[in-house]
Amino acid sequence: MRCGDFKENYIKDEEIFQSRFVKFWLALFFIFLIVFPFIANPHMLYIANMIGFAVIGAIGLNLLTGFTGQISLGHAAFIGVGAYTSAILVTKYGISFWLSIPLAGLVSALAGLVIGIPSLRVKGLYLCIATLAAQFIFGFIFVHWESMTKGITGIHIPPPSIGSFQFVTEKDFYWVTLFFTALAVGYARNLVRSRMGRAFVAIRDRDLAAEIMGINLFRYKLTAFAISSFYAGVSGALWVSFLKVVIPEHFNFMLCIQYLAMIIVGGLGSVIGSIFGAIFMTLVPEILNVLSDVVKSYAPDMGKLIIPFKQVVFGFLIVSFLIFEPRGLAEIWNRIKKFFTLWPFSY
């Protein structure tokens, strides 16, 4: 029985897997992830894929907003840039899907750098409006740069393949998603305990103090934007490759709100929080769908209310988490862990 934390040096404190207990459960979780596609039905796998994309995107946003404190209302734009880059590279230039994913991330990161430039002069509310503006400008470009994006008709994307094997079904694509998601989570978890991660947190807590301590604001703020957009781009590229079609409608302002909701519900400034948030916010609409099916069987015309009802639930979740549990699911998770660590003497 472990009771309390007894760490004797900083290396121990910063370890990702802090105890044998954690390692054991994580290993079990990984086995579950690998067994999952063999026991799940296609719809569950579809949701699992969606969760994967959401996890990557949410971690990206959390690195920028939760860790570095730079509020972005334009995350959907970066997801869109990545999605379109990958789609165009694959369909127009015949580049392999596997190469197009990192390239999509890079182009997205470039867009992030450009949008990040105002962050050097403005912060808080002003930055948030600047990113909002970027969101609408990119939305405009997606619709109107028809020679590249094919406007509102969208681009159809062939499924990715290795050799002659094509990743067509949800189950095939699950492996692609799992691979990239694991990579994204692992990198982010390591990033936040590095020098760069600490610099991000310092900038969030007080940018002037961070600068006095020798953190180059220019460099780290832009890096945060670039990394965040890289994640967004990868997430978007995977997402549209899975859906096999990309249209501008995907990347509207609602998606930004969804992602912000994920990191707020999950927990700002926490990698595991982003994962919780992504899972939670992807599952909530699914649960509502199930509920609506039940309701529909009793009152058929209530069915059309489900779309707005989802919005209400989203808004309600955001507001109530902000008011009652500002540190999100990650904090609840911590409390539960602490309860069991100290059990039966927790108080």
């Binding site: 409006i129 600047a130 707020i264 309600f316």
Partner: protein, 296 residues
């Protein structure tokens, strides 16, 4: 390009700008007193337009009663929302405060979707449809009345601010909360009132815009475009909001005239966001905003 078309477009821009100024005023009123940027402003607008519309078409009251109902509703909206949702956010980081207004917007939009369908509706005729002929330009009736409404509302607000007891209390709170508190101003009341005032500006803007271009639940997107106005004018400046409204209105209409044919439409709607980015790079605190200088 025909010169008279240019004049016509500029006049239309001025009229639109008046309405923008009014909505921007709503943003500024709330921001000045409570330091909250209310991103649910667009939803307030839409809600106002729908309330007025429903009063006009369902219970068939004359316009001025429907208008009064809407105003009362806006006041209640502010008084209810501020203590319920915004007060717990005092002292929280910017992201929480912004997100709570976005969440509020999502709730309102979803509720409106559930109550009124997302279909497009034309507003009933409430103003005489005769356009005003200025000689060198013709102002359509909707824009003209919208402009008149916006100007009257703005002037009323300015007078309230300058001369009424409430207005002075609000200015005092905006200036220094501690000092206002010690002078016996109820800062809580002022906060709720500024939300009511902001909501009033928004619903009047909603009615006016609904009257010009019809209503549906997405008309609130204009609220986001108006952000460019307050960025241009300065987040906490009333004169900035009004002047910024005119500038953005004219610029937007000029974009519609000159750029839209080049890119195949849509530039008019996105122009305000380009303006935002440009201003933020050149002069982040706007024309009249309070300049905060931080240096290491």
């Amino acid at each position: 390009m025909d010169f008279s078309i240019l004049i016509q477009v500029i006049v239309a821009g001025l009229a639109t700008g008046g309405v923008y100024g009014l909505i921007a005023l709503g943003f500024v009123l709330i921001y000045k007193a409570t330091s909250v940027l209310n991103l649910a402003m667009g939803e307030f607008m839409t809600l106002g337009a729908f309330i007025c519309f429903t009063a006009l078409t369902m219970i068939h009251v004359p316009f001025w009663i429907a208008f009064a109902i809407t105003i009362v509703f806006a006041i209640l909206l502010g008084i209810v929302i501020e203590p319920l949702i915004l007060r717990p956010m005092i002292g929280e980081p910017v992201i929480s405060v912004i997100m709570v207004t976005i969440g509020l917007g999502a709730i309102l939009r979803g509720l409106m979707y559930m109550i009124w369908d997302p279909t497009y509706r034309a507003f009933p005729q409430i103003f005489p449809p005769k356009p005003l002929n200025l000689g060198f330009a013709v102002v359509p009736s909707g824009l003209l009345w919208g402009f008149i409404f916006a100007v009257i509302t703005t002037i009323v607000f300015i007078f309230i601010f300058k001369f009424s007891r409430t207005g002075v209390a609000m200015r005092a709170t905006a200036n220094d909360q501690q000092a206002a508190l010690s002078m016996g101003v109820s800062v809580k009341r002022v906060f709720a009132l500024s939300w009511s005032f902001g909501a009033i500006a928004a619903v009047i803007g909603g009615i006016v815009i609904g009257n010009i271009s019809g209503i549906n639940i997405y008309m609130g997107d204009v609220g986001l475009a108006v952000l460019s106005v307050i960025i241009l004018g300065g987040l906490d400046s009333i004169e900035g909001a009004i002047l910024g409204g005119f500038i953005v209105g004219i610029l937007q209409n000029l974009t519609g005239l000159y750029i839209d044919p080049l890119v195949g439409g849509g530039a008019k709607e996105v122009a305000p966001f380009f303006i935002v980015l440009i201003i933020l790079m050149i002069r982040p605190y706007g024309l009249f905003g309070k300049v905060i200088i931080e240096r290491v």
